[in-house]
């Protein structure tokens, strides 16, 4: 799906990076724990989170997320938006909760970055 299609599907507001919505997304990682995003997110995936602080943008930049989707209708502070524009990371905000947003994307062909975490250092890929 492109970010355009994701925006439409989730009735999301585009808060940053409106010029980069043609990007194609195949994978996603949903988390409110940034440590887990750092450990398991794959390059090109969309980060789905309920956090709104500027760290989410820095993490997205570090792990090469294609975009950030903020759930539960939260609107991040200005610092987050400014940083996202600077680092060219699209930020979308949807009113759907994390479960609903993830489920709707999954139903439209987006899959997780990994399937399961079996134990320390043992990840089950897709």
């Amino acid at each position: 799906m492109t970010l355009h299609e994701i925006r439409e599907l989730l009735d999301a507001r585009v808060l940053a990076g409106g010029n980069h919505l043609d990007v194609e997304v195949k994978t996603a990682f949903s988390a409110d724990l940034m440590s887990d995003v750092l450990a398991f997110a794959k390059p090109g995936s969309i980060m789905i989170t309920g956090l709104t602080n500027p760290q989410i943008v820095r993490i997205a930049s570090i792990v090469d997320n294609s975009a950030i989707l903020i759930v539960r209708g939260k609107i991040p502070p200005d610092e987050t938006i400014t940083l996202a524009e600077e680092l060219e990371i699209p930020v979308l905000s949807t009113k759907y909760i994390l479960f609903e947003a993830s489920g709707r994307l999954y139903a439209n062909g987006i899959v997780g970055c990994v399937r399961k975490i079996e134990g320390p250092g043992s990840v089950v890929p897709l």
Binding site: L33, M34, S35, L38, P43, N53, P54, R58, S61, V63
Partner: protein, 140 residues
């Protein structure tokens, strides 16, 4: 570049608003040196985790990087409380982070484990009440 390209970034402890700032800058810098793809990503993640560790536990620290043709060597030094039990600290899910750190989405006990995962070579030297030194090596 046979001598290697060296640079250093200071990190101040307890300054959560700036968490990740040094890492994002370092990543941009390394990209400028021609480092790309998985190597760049692993390096950036290892540095990010280390930066958050300094901010969470130490008053100040330093990220020293040396880029050679063969590898990226990263030394992270802090003057924090040190690690009493390194084996336990390495375990996935073990953390001594307080609520403030957890509210920011950190302190999941993934940090050191994730750094090791991103490294080709990894060593921790720590002395209680003195500080910690992480030695990370990533092959290019």
């Amino acid at each position: 570049m046979s001598q290697g390209y060296k640079f250093s970034f200071p990190v101040k402890g307890d300054n959560f608003d700036d968490a990740g700032k040094a890492s994002v800058e370092i990543k941009r810098f390394l990209k400028g040196l021609g480092i790309t793809g998985d190597v760049l990503r692993r390096t950036a993640i290892a540095i990010y985790e280390s930066e958050v560790n300094i901010i969470s536990y130490a008053r100040q620290g330093n990220i020293n990087i040396c880029v050679t043709d063969a590898s990226i060597l990263i030394n992270i030094r802090d003057n924090g409380p040190g690690i009493t039990d390194i084996e336990q600290a390495m375990k996935q899910g073990y953390s001594t982070a307080d609520d403030h750190i957890r509210e920011m989405g950190f302190g999941a006990g993934m940090g050191l484990f994730n750094i090791k995962n991103c490294s080709d070579d990894f060593e921790i030297l720590s002395e209680v009440n003195r500080g910690t030194l992480l030695k990370i090596s990533i092959n290019r």
